[in-house]
Amino acid sequence: MQWRLHRGIWLGLFVCHNAAALPTVAATVTAAASTLDLDGEGSSETYIVKVADVTFSTDNATGCTLTLSSGDIAKAGGLNIAYKVTSVADGAAAPTSGDFTVPTGTDYTYAISSATSSDRDVYVKYTTRSIQDPGTYSETIHFTVADT
């Protein structure tokens, strides 16, 4: 009976050990993300907007990498509005235009190199057109985290 008890506990600890190694990511969308200024009514501009707060963590000794997708803000029947993405430390000043170094459509990555947690502010940059088909444009940004 004692052997059976130990077997159950050790089996549980083995499973727990493997499960705890998974990194995690959680993104919270900002209010501004759902009210993007898209112009298209006679004027155009370049915008830099904070769209999410993201927290990611790992217990992997060599850290993990956060990956963010980028692409187009789009609707059926309208021209796409391309955007770039970057991140800054939580609470830091907004990035400038030159900080968006990853091309549209290419994944942006940010890595940490130890077993820890990181909070980042996620920004997008896009340029509107002076004439844009009316309607609602949207886009999903995907967050992925993987141990390194």
């Binding site: 499960a19 705890a20 995690t24 969308v29 993300a33 898209l38 949207s138 886009e139």
Partner: protein, 161 residues
């Protein structure tokens, strides 16, 4: 004993909830572009000096200049909806029809006008601005009752998508 047997595994499943924490997440961002659709029509001078009793001929007269614009990629449609006829102080009326043409183009010939009292439309197929000249066609009556005859053409604009 069965409780003891599975205690370890149960505790583990409880404690390892982080195993179900996500390695992926997503957010949706969005924005709206409002339609800029508008139309402005201006009566031309001839619209208020129409010669109704100069004879009995079929007459074609420009009555308005219209400008419309929209950011709709599919363009816009102007609809000209005329009253049934010009009406005056007595029972005499002048039925008329409406036809629109490209800004500054030659006046339309009689054969291209739709039926009296029928709507006329002006359609574009891309975003931007458009100008149209609006003409009417009616038949004069040399013996019509004296007085002022008036009518309206309602103009509406709509995006094509």
């Amino acid at each position: 004993m069965r409780f003891v047997k599975y205690l370890g595994v149960s505790l583990c499943l409880l404690a390892s909830s982080s195993a179900f924490a996500a390695t992926t997440d997503s957010i949706v961002m969005s924005g709206t572009v409002e339609s800029t659709l508008e139309v402005v029509c201006t009566d031309v001078a001839g619209a208020t000096t129409i010669d109704f009793d100069g004879g009995s001929a079929e007459t074609i007269v420009q009555v308005s200049d219209c400008n419309a614009s929209s950011n709709d990629d599919a363009g816009l449609t102007l609809t000209f909806n005329p009253d049934a006829s010009f009406t005056g102080p007595a029972s005499d009326v002048f039925a008329f029809s409406v036809e629109s043409v490209t800004d500054a183009a030659a006046a339309p010939i009689a054969g291209v006008f739709p039926a009296d009292d029928a709507d006329d439309t002006w359609v574009t197929s891309a975003s931007g601005s458009t100008d149209a000249d609006v003409y009417i066609k009616f038949t004069q009556d040399a013996t019509v009752d004296p007085g002022t005859y008036t009518s309206n053409i309602a103009v509406t604009a709509a995006d094509n998508s």
